[in-house]
Subunit: 279 residues, 4 copies
């Protein structure tokens, strides 16, 4: 009895190494196959939405989708089984993503058309970071995250400001332009105002009256100035991050004159010539 | 007589704490309810402008609008009554906003359709900063303000430059493209030029002749370069602000003359030459 | 004879002070009137181009234009007469602008429709900087110029790069999309490519084929990255300018330990406590 | 026999100096002529694509194209012959470009319409950098390259992130908007999403339903924040580059160990502790 248990345990570990690890040949292979399947699955959902393709290859797509779903289900089950604490996985980000990405297909039995939701699988592409083992790049990513996180609160205030401006200007444009030139309601005007402030400018709605165009011009120039703000915030964060990163790495304090020496491979204090201890 | 006065005085203070303060339960509740009412009021104005919704629920909306207006009026009166110096409130920014936001409804008796102006209530959303007591974020906001203020004069010159460029290029495009391709007048051309320089690009007006398209291309690339300028200005300000902020962190206080020394590895106060203690 | 000469000389000087100077009442008045006339003249050219307005007030506009032209001519003559070295003025930037801005009206006798060119007067608006005596702002302007000048050569290389990219991608899109979807010729495709790279996106021409849309997406994301370059260049210049400006203003060298003290109103070296000589 | 060899060798060198060098009159002339021919060739391909021009001057264009192709072929042969190690040239970037730029014409015998590909000649414009001997600017260019290279990995992660976001949001919009409003398939929706995120905004596809417009607004504001990221990255790199560049300016060379000391007010070499002479 015990023997079986230990054997099972051994198996569990073997699978664990393959499924979660990526430093063994089997693990690496598993990862690459998985990546391929994910890409395929996303591709399928896309193709299915293209009508003339769907009509041609409908059955093929369905079959493939089911195969993929089964693969994913197996993988999901494996991940749970071979994991020492399955619940930590189930309720982890990836765990939830994996679950959601297989759900729609099974739902499609009860709710037709819910299969379209299986595009959520795209989220699984995030595994790419893990799979390709992009240590360097993910390092970068974390730096990205840091800078973005640091400037988040500023960005929120900023967006909040943009929204209020949009509401006010949108209402004004609605009053000025009137219904016949596309500004059919205040929400629509607000939508147009955001489109303009963000310099997207679809042109599906555009002012036609002279006063409307004057106000629009002001909004654009305003947006011109406004677009500088988030850029400024994020850039400042990046620059600061870069400066700190550099100076922190290599700062040493001079024992005699206590100057902070921020030069790579400095052996002597550049101020008093004192020897520095490089431990 | 005196007793009544003092009682009234007591009441006034109680109300004041509720209306202006936000550290008591009642005060907090008052704020949150107020916020809800403001959001609702803005929402109503929007919905009213959507025709098919307006036709359905016209009477409901009107009733609700009146209820809100009454609430706002009461609040406004309360704020005046319970304030020691009412006039300072009346002529303060929020005081004026509050007044304007209740005006349109009453005006709508005499001037029909003036009710649309009640979208000005959106400005009341600014109270959100106060209500949600976003100390941290408003701190950010003030920093935003600072950086924007510092780069204002530059921005003005810049906008002024953009306008002159737009006028000149607009006129040129008017001459080059002519009326049939949408450039019906110089003001319209200027409007188009601003739309292009700001990279909004509605496409409601677009050059069709080869020379026109060549000039347009130049304008775009010009705008490409130009858009860098405000960003550069604002970013420089932000970076500077950040640097100062950092230098404040490393600040030391001189024991003798209590100057704030904001120089890394400073050993002596640069103001009185006193030795600083670097613990 | 001599007396007359000296009298004339005296008059010349008086006029000079009025026309060129702006610290006397008369001079200030002259400037403001001039500014008003310039604005009016630009406005007129615009209004004239608006058909229905032109039809109504044609004669009025013509009359006003002639009055303005006469005013400008007089001013131009005055500036030449009362100037000690008239040629330096005539061939100065403003001199040429003034001349060009009066030319079109007189030309309109011989070449009908050349009057439209009188929009060149807009250039006279540049005098605003001088007239409003914006010392502070012009200071900013010069800083703007400096930063832009410093980053010019980089920008040129950049634009040059953008053009080559546009030519190549434009040609590719022409081959991929073909004539029926708006890409009628390579120049048009290049025009479209610039419109896309600069994120203007009129939408007068847009890809319709799947491969075309894929390439377009790549171009956009490319443009996304590219737009960062000029901004980065200019911003770097601004930041550097700001840093230097600040540190240069206030740098002092310590006589004993020759530390460069870059703290405003520093009286003592913060490194060795030595007194600094503030001359 | 030997004599001829040496004579040939002499000739080879003469040609080499003319073809590759640009410090002799002949070499300079060769370069300028080449540049002219390249520009002409690119121009021709463009003109040919303009129908009404092509119909008029078809034969002329063809003749000119053949002349140019022959010139290029000759040049290509010369470059190979007069080069000591021809293969290094053949497989160098310019070598391949030169080859590709002459290929299409000859191919056009077998594959009609392949002549259009000769627009690839545009790549030859890159020689401009070499020809105009823009030492300064190319210096800038290399700096550009450096900064872009440094921020490449960040940009890749960023683009990768943008793509995933586009796929997800594109799919959502496809579900929300449906076929009748232009979102005919998920790929199309993704294309639209990229168009929106990059603030290009053609407007060939635009949301019409209220929920669609709300989501679109969010996407735009998101794109607003996102566009800040690459700019921030590149700018940070540029600023860093600039700072280093500056520190090189203030560099001092240590007399004993000849280390380059790039610290302001450094008095001792931080490498060997030797005193530096600050004149």
């Amino acid at each position: 009895m015990k023997k079986i248990k230990s054997e099972y345990e051994l198996l569990r570990q073997r699978i664990y190494i393959i499924v979660y690890g990526s430093n063994t040949v089997a693990g690496r292979l598993f990862d690459i196959v998985l990546l391929g399947v994910i890409l395929l699955s996303v591709l399928l959902v896309m193709l299915e939405s293209v009508e003339h393709l769907d009509q041609k290859y409908h059955s093929t797509i369905i079959v493939l989708e089911w195969i993929i779903t089964v693969c994913f289900t197996l993988e999901y089950v494996l991940r749970i089984l071979c994991n020492k604490k399955p619940f930590t996985f189930i309720f982890s980000f990836y765990g939830i993503v994996d679950f959601i990405s297989i759900l729609p297909m099974y739902l499609s039995f009860f709710i037709p058309g819910s299969r379209i939701l299986s595009v959520i699988r795209a989220l699984r592409l995030l595994r790419l970071f893990g799979i390709l083992n992009l240590v360097h790049i993910t390092g970068q990513e974390s730096q990205l995250k840091l800078a973005i996180k640091a400037s988040r609160s500023k960005i929120i205030v900023f967006i909040y400001f943009v929204l209020i401006v949009s509401i006010l200007l949108g209402a004004i444009m609605y009053v000025v332009e009137g219904k016949e030139s596309g500004f059919t309601s205040i929400p629509t005007s607000i939508y147009w105002c955001i489109v303009t402030l963000t310099t997207v400018g679809y042109g599906d709605i555009a002012p036609v009256t002279i006063p409307g165009q004057i106000i629009a011009s002001c909004i654009m120039i305003l947006g011109y100035g406004i677009i500088a703000v988030p850029t400024g915030i994020v850039t400042a964060e990046f620059t600061a991050a870069k400066r700190n990163q550099k100076s922190i790495q290599i700062a040493k304090k001079c024992p005699s004159c206590s100057t902070i020496v921020t030069v790579e491979d400095a052996k002597y204090c550049y101020h008093c010539g004192e020897k520095l201890d490089n431990e």
